[in-house]
């Protein structure tokens, strides 16, 4: 999800497209990827390379390519639409390509990038997704059994604060127990309860997340440090033998 609008937030669009490309390169089909871009950088009138988005000053990898599929774009990327997408509280008329069709066996990667602050993430320069709302949505997803594992990555300033709303192990155990999911979530080897959420943020409280790869032709920074280094690390991993600890 790219939550930023305006041309100078080009790098957030490229971040989201880069993660999209990495997912496709790993073999995830388009039918299982939902791309939300709050603004159009590729065909923006200010783009000197029409229909091309880059994330490296070498300008050798066009992230938009020839087969990009964007599911939500422009003004349709709102906090409300995002939360409804996560919890599947959508009208029946919304097509399948705009739904997160996950179930209890799905492993979901949720990547958010944009501008953020202490316990919030800015949407479209006008709205905010609070850490509380995000954690409530994830808890709902878990209780509705919409994922087996959820890997949440947030690349914004003070992104770590967005993760603080997630339940602690004790709270998670209590939630699962009350929902009757404790038995299924218990690890048979050590008896611990697995809520199934792994989260990573690009910065702690009071810490900024900086951009990288400034390019004079495009006139902007093309990527953010966290996402850039993350994808470099992912590219070095072998998809069949890699584990989360390698990352």
């Amino acid at each position: 999800v790219c939550t930023s609008r305006f041309w100078f937030n080009y790098r957030h669009v490229s971040n989201a497209l880069a993660v999209y490309g990495a997912a496709r390169a790993a073999g995830v089909p388009d039918s299982r990827v939902l791309v939300l871009l709050a603004d159009d950088a590729g065909c923006n009138a200010r783009n000197v390379f029409p229909a091309a988005v880059f994330d490296h000053p070498s300008l050798s990898r066009d992230l938009l390519g020839r087969h990009a599929e964007v599911d939500y774009r422009g003004y349709s990327v709102t906090v409300d639409a995002f939360l409804r997408l996560l919890t599947d509280r959508l009208p029946a008329s919304v097509p399948a390509s705009r739904r997160l069709l996950s179930d209890s066996a799905s492993n979901v990667l949720l990547y958010l990038t944009g501008h953020g602050g202490d316990h919030f993430l800015k949407f479209q320069d006008a709205d905010e997704l609070t850490a509380t709302a995000l954690s409530e949505a994830i808890i709902q997803m878990r209780l509705l059994q919409r994922f087996h594992r959820l890997f949440l990555m947030v690349d914004t300033c003070q992104a770590g604060t967005m993760l603080e709303g997630l339940p602690s192990p004790k709270e998670a155990a209590d939630l699962l127990d009350r929902a009757g999911l404790a038995a299924a979530a218990r690890d048979p080897t050590d008896g611990s309860l697995d809520f199934g959420v792994i989260a990573a943020g690009s910065a702690r409280r009071s810490q900024n997340s900086y951009s990288i790869h400034s390019d004079s032709t495009v006139g902007l920074s093309l990527s953010d440090r966290f996402t850039s280094i993350l994808l470099e690390s992912v590219n070095k991993l072998s998809p069949k033998r890699a584990s989360l600890m390698d990352l």
């Binding site: 065909c43 390379f49 029409p50 091309a52 994330d55 992230l63 599929e69 008329s93 097509p95």
Partner: protein
């Protein structure tokens, strides 16, 4: 030596295997339980592709149109027909479109377009479909779906536009138009269409709400049909972007062969910058393989038309400068390098195996107009060239064929077909909104119809244009209809402005006649206002050309809308829908029509019938085209967006302080604590001083 185990198989076991084989064979060859003959349905649709190359009127640009037509299968005409599971490969008719009609039983036809850039009508000319007067008459009598198809072939507005034709419910009549039940029926049908198209083709369907839609009724015309009338709803989004995701959706979900032959990304491939090759797929696979070429053009449009009876039409139109149109491949940007990304290579060229016809239509212009530098005689204008592509070698040769003279050939000079610099379209339109200096909340909406009509050449060769101006104003721009004024400023032939009192130029002033005026006011936060003006301009026999402009001026007021209705980037302003002008002219023969010929009619037998702006028997030229103004950006009075936070913060502070003060005084009890007895040290001090020890501080 031991005998193999299978030789020891018993007879009953062999019989069992034999029965299993027979059962399997029977299952494979049995008919499907639904009773639909898939084999017949599989061959019922045909796929045709065409590329049109045409010069613009200024001779400096080239118009390219890649057009793909898929005919409708017979079973789609009926809304209640079963929806058999069609494997895409067994039928060229795309399964996604079949699902669209299956899920929307009231949908008769839909047209979705995306466009970016400014179409320079005054320089490039207007798109001419080549129908002539007879064709125009036939259009008026055609079915609504056919008319929508013809409309989709014309110029499209900037941004996106969706037009849907819906059948009314079985019990409704034309008298029900405007009632709540009809609105509910249309709302449900429209919602279903916009959602599914939004999901497939990445259009902002959520913006196509009632505030931006225009409803009308399509009369069936003179052609008989099962439905006498259809409901039409259209929506325009001037701000919608047109980019790779829209093109890739058309290629993936609609066009056969468009994604064939490309190498998929393998594991470890970084990102989406696939260096796949377009190795086949005919015109669809090759021409649409390079989004950079399409979206870097000064103007482009993507068009999708769906109909139960008229089939599917996908078109990608470009206007590129001639410097980029040396060959067809270059014009489409195939082989164009973007930054350091290797260009899309065409490893080998092959035809689309399911295409029944592939052809290239080249209209004369820069392609064949070569004038020797010393020649003084005008060259005869050759007719359009139509080439059927039947082999891969034809296609490869066509892609690399030179469209203009070689740069190094200095012995010839390429001149545009329309060499008359004074030639121009008879009607152009511009629109502007000027705010009052003293009151920024109101302004004057001015629509200028610029006309340039040749002199009429007698009753058999009139010079007359019928113009229909359609304006859709959003509900927050309130028009005052009683202030609508029209005026004409005629510059005649001398170029100087002329008022009504200038008798010398009165004969060159065309007749203006208002044919009709229709207005539907807006419903706040619900529907836009619609204004339609029909008028006629007829030039007299005085010395031409008769030039000037007709002004329509109307005062408007900008509403101060609710803070929640502003978009996130409110300071950018609001895009107002483009005005649409439909022009039908009868002009004397020989008039330089300044048209871009775009194609041929597709007759039922598939044979080509080249036609440009044809002449009527009376010696006049029939001209028909559509024009749009540029989207208008309007600044509305903005609220202070920080005020909600300011009010909440200030109010919360006041309440907290007040609450704290009142709580302290009403609830907090004052308790007097008894003094403690003095310590040992104080008592000793008191004894020494011979007086009692002071009480200790509490």
């Amino acid at each position: 030596m031991r005998r193999p185990s299978f030789c020891r198989a018993s007879l009953p076991g062999l019989a069992l295997v034999g029965w299993l084989v027979l059962v399997l064979v029977g299952l494979v060859t049995a008919d499907a339980p639904s009773g639909v003959d898939f084999r017949a349905a599989a061959s019922s649709s045909t796929f045709r592709e065409q590329l049109v190359i045409s010069p613009t009127a200024d001779g400096l640009h080239t118009f390219l149109r890649a057009e793909f037509l898929i005919s409708s299968p017979a079973d789609l005409a009926h809304a209640d027909a079963p929806n058999p599971r069609q494997h895409y490969r067994s039928d060229v008719y795309p399964a996604a479109v079949r699902q669209i009609f299956h899920l929307n039983p009231h949908l008769e036809a839909a047209a979705l377009t995306f466009s970016q850039g400014q179409f320079m009508l005054s320089e490039w000319g207007a798109l001419d479909l080549g129908h002539g007067a007879a064709g125009q008459a036939a259009q008026r009598a055609a079915s609504p779906a056919r008319r929508l198809l013809l409309q989709s072939q014309e110029l499209v507005p900037t941004g996106s536009r969706l037009v849907g034709l819906f059948r009314p419910s079985a019990t409704s009549t034309p008298a029900d138009i405007g009632t709540a039940s009809m609105d509910a029926h249309l709302d449900a049908s429209w919602s279903g269409l916009t959602n599914i198209l939004g999901g497939l083709f990445c259009v902002s369907s959520h913006d196509m709400t009632s505030e931006r839609v225009v409803d009308s009724v399509f009369e069936a015309g003179e052609s008989p049909g099962p439905t006498a009338w259809l409901l039409s709803r259209s929506s325009m989004l001037p701000r919608e972007s047109s980019c790779t995701e829209n093109l890739s959706a058309l290629r993936r979900w609609v066009l056969p062969c468009a994604v064939s032959g490309e190498m998929p990304l393998g594991p470890g491939a970084a990102g989406l910058g696939d260096r796949g090759v377009a190795s086949g797929g005919g015109l669809a696979g090759i021409l649409l393989s390079s989004p950079h070429g399409i979206f870097s053009a000064p103007w482009h449009s993507l068009s999708l038309f769906l109909s139960r009876t008229e089939g599917i039409r996908v078109a990608v139109d470009l206007v590129v400068p001639n410097s980029r149109a040396r060959t067809i491949k270059q014009a489409w940007g195939i082989g164009m390098q973007v930054a350091n990304v290797p260009p899309v290579a065409v490893s080998h060229v092959s035809l689309c195996p399911v295409a029944s016809s592939s052809r290239v239509l080249i209209f004369p212009g820069l392609a064949t107009t070569k004038v020797a530098a010393t020649a003084t005689a005008a060259m005869a204008v050759p007719g359009p060239t139509l080439r059927e592509i039947t082999t891969a070698e034809d296609l490869a040769a066509m892609l690399d064929a030179r469209l203009g003279p070689a740069e190094e050939d200095t012995s010839v000079e390429a001149v545009p077909l329309h060499g008359d610099a004074a030639g121009r379209l008879p009607i152009l339109v511009e629109r502007s909104l000027t705010s009052d200096l003293s009151d920024q909340g109101s302004g004057l909406l001015v629509t200028r119809i610029l006309f340039r009509l040749p002199a009429s050449d007698g009753p058999d060769a009139p010079s007359i244009c019928h113009v229909r101006l359609d304006d859709v104003l959003p509900w927050f721009l309130v028009p005052f209809l009683h202030t609508l004024r029209h005026s004409m400023v005629s510059t005649g032939t001398s170029g100087s402005a002329s008022g009504a009192g200038d008798a010398a130029l009165a004969s060159s002033r065309p007749d203006f006649r208002l044919e009709g005026l229709a207005f539907a006011p807006a419903v706040p936060e619900h529907s836009p206002a619609q204004l339609r003006i029909d008028f006629t301009l007829a030039a007299g026999a005085g010395p031409g050309p008769h030039e000037g402009e007709v002004l329509f001026e109307m005062r408007v007021r900008k509403r101060f809308i609710h803070i929640d209705l502003h978009p996130p980037d409110a300071n950018r302003g609001f895009e107002i829908f483009p005005s649409e002008v439909q022009v039908e002219c009868q002009l004397p023969a020989g008039h330089d029509a300044r048209l871009i010929p775009t194609g041929l009619a597709w007759p039922a037998d598939g044979a080509a019938s080249p036609a440009m702006a044809s002449s009527t028997p009376s010696g006049s030229v029939a001209l028909r085209y559509r024009a749009f103004t540029r989207p208008l950006l309007v600044y509305l009075p903005l609220p202070d967006f920080s005020m909600p936070f300011n009010v909440i913060a200030g109010t919360s502070t006041v309440i907290a302080l007040f609450f704290g003060y009142m709580f302290n005084h009403l609830v907090r009890a004052v308790v007097v604590k008894p003094a403690r007895s003095a310590g040992l040290k104080a008592r000793l001090g008191g004894l020494l001083r011979r007086r009692p020890a002071p009480p200790a501080a509490s």
